[in-house]
């Protein structure tokens, strides 16, 4: 096991950890931006040839300061166009899966399309856009924690075999079975 390499990797991980803390506010802002789908909204506005911020409905409601007591429901047209975009994106994601991409690319595109769809649902169907800003904070915080959960857990799983030693190697069931060491204490699974 190359200690120097290890230490280099460790410092790589430190900087990841450090940037987590330093970038906390920035990450938060990015998440808010993504989930308020500012970009999507702008694109739709441009496409429909209207001023940005007016896609929400025929009657433009100034964003309520604290809470939406002023009730001006968005127009049916907006809802239907969001719905149609969702259907198009569904077709896209199914289509992409038929292309036979490499696994990494397939995962990437699936997640991107799913996030777009989720953004549409959240922004318009769930009225995050134009709703109280606190809702964005709540959503981005929970997404942030979810990302933390995924990243730090994967920081363990993905570096286990980096030592190149037996450490972290999977004594898989098949291997164990060959060696006659089936982990026991459980009923043996039905052999496939």
């Amino acid at each position: 096991m190359d200690v120097v390499l290890n230490i280099l990797v460790m410092f790589g991980l430190f900087s990841v950890g450090l940037s987590f803390l330093v970038l906390l506010p920035v990450v938060g802002k990015i998440l808010v931006a993504v989930f308020s789908t500012v970009l999507v909204e702008r694109a739709v506005s441009r496409w429909r040839g209207v001023k940005s911020g007016t896609v929400m409905g025929a009657h433009v409601v100034p964003e309520p300061v604290v809470d939406g007591d002023v009730h001006e429901p968005p127009s049916v047209r907006v809802y239907v166009s969001v719905y149609l975009s969702l259907l198009v994106l569904t077709v896209v994601t199914v289509g992409v899966s038929e292309l036979g991409l490499l696994m990494r690319e397939a995962v990437f595109w699936a997640v991107v399309v799913a996030s777009l769809k989720a953004g549409l649902v959240i922004a318009w169907f769930m009225h995050l856009k134009g709703g109280p800003p606190m809702n964005r904070l709540v959503l981005s915080t929970s997404v942030f924690f979810m990302v933390i959960f995924f990243t730090l857990t994967m920081a363990d799983l993905s570096t286990r075999t980096m030592g190149g030693d037996e450490e972290g190697q999977w004594a898989t069931i098949d291997e164990a079975r060959d060696a006659g060491d089936v982990p026991s204490g459980w009923s043996t699974p039905t052999a496939p």
Binding site: V66, D67, G68, D69, H71, P73, P74, V76, Y79, V80, Y83, L86, L87, T90, T93, V94, V96, S97, M103, A106, V107, A110, V111, V113, A114, K117, A118, V121, I122, W124, F125, M126, G131, P132, M134, N135, V138, L139, T141, S142, V143, F145, M146, F149, F150, T153, M154, L157, S158, W170, I173, S187, P189, T190, P192
Partner: protein
């Protein structure tokens, strides 16, 4: 300060401990979003398991996705997306005081939810016939490697999602009744908004669940 100054305009549905209808509505809205936040974390556990084991057993996941019925998955996606549309339309109709239309849209949402569950149970039934059961009970032949694990996650994820759909259906029926009785109105629509938010959450989970389980190979 006292309550008397506001009590003249104070509707009966505003609880005594709230200052105003606005305060009550915004509290309900924030509460629901917090609930959605915790639901995201709840499902993140299963997605975490999915990611971790996908990393450890990529081959199993390849053949696992092949074993699932993509057509039914896509159909269910369309059904759920449509039900989300009928849901927002139901709330919109309620807000412009078209009660009958609103209830009709809720009924449509419920029907779509039932269709979703129907497709899901057909899918489950096929799996069971092929001996595809979660974990220990897996006895199918189509999937290589840690098939029990893959289907453990598949059934746990889709099962919990279906449970959320069932709860949502119950809530929708209850909502329709309350709208019918005039207990939920265009003014006092927090309940409708929140059940709507819940229904969209169920949709959101499926939006991620569908490509991850059915599509990505």
């Amino acid at each position: 300060m006292s309550d008397t100054s506001t009590s003249a305009q104070r509707p009966a549905w505003v609880a005594s401990f709230f200052e105003s209808a606005t305060q009550q509505r915004s509290a309900a809205n924030l509460g629901m979003w917090l609930f959605i936040g915790q639901e995201i974390l709840f499902f993140s556990g299963l997605f975490m398991a999915y990611i971790a084991y996908r990393w450890l057993y990529p081959d199993t996941w390849l053949s696992g996705a092949d074993a699932l019925n993509k057509t039914m998955g896509t159909a269910n996606t369309v059904v759920l997306l449509t039900s989300s549309l009928t849901m927002v339309l139901a709330i919109r109709e309620l807000q412009v005081d078209r009660i009958r239309a609103s209830i009709r849209y809720i009924v449509a949402t419920v029907v779509l939810g039932v269709v979703f569950l129907g497709v899901k149970s057909v899918e489950y039934a096929h799996k069971f016939e092929e001996g595809i059961l979660p974990g220990l009970h897996y006895s199918g032949e189509s999937v290589e490697g840690m098939a029990g694990l893959f289907f453990g996650i598949y059934f746990a994820l889709t099962g919990l999602h279906a449970l959320h759909v069932i709860i949502g259906l119950g809530l929708l029926v209850w909502l329709a009744r309350r709208i019918h009785l005039g207990l939920v109105t265009s003014e006092n629509d927090s309940l409708a908004e929140n059940i709507g938010l819940y229904w969209h959450l169920v949709d959101l989970v499926w939006i991620f669940l569908f490509p991850m389980l059915y599509l990505v190979r």
